[in-house]
Symmetry: C2
Subunit: 84 residues, 2 copies
Amino acid sequence: MEIAEFQALMGRLYGEADTARGIPSTVAWLCEEVGELAQAVRKHQADQQLHELGDVLAWLASLANQLGLSLEDAAARYVDDPPA
Amino acid sequence: MEIAEFQALMGRLYGEADTARGIPSTVAWLCEEVGELAQAVRKHQADQQLHELGDVLAWLASLANQLGLSLEDAAARYVDDPPA
């Protein structure tokens, strides 16, 4: 799946609710999911790790939507001029 | 760009160094980048937000690589059975 396609899907599924909730709440929720991912890593729970990887990606895409930014553009820097 | 293609690129660019550094350090670095993203949001710095969105995505992909998991598979849950 294309990065841009995933971001657009997040917008269709959750855009209205996420926008109503607002950007600071989206940042908070992203942090919550990162914490859950860290816990799944610490506990060596592979199924949960996969679940939380998806949730972090979803909230990252939702935040990008609310900021009016493209995750695809963000990723492009690593193609065009990857940090050392 | 495909999610899987981005993850593979991160593996080619950074896989060796990230593996040497280890999973806990990768989790820590992911958290650091999330913090930088949160700061760029708070400061309304659009260029920096785009930069940090890319960095978070990159460290998320690197962590997935080290866990032997696919971000594409993780994203698929939102296609097949999106959380309410």
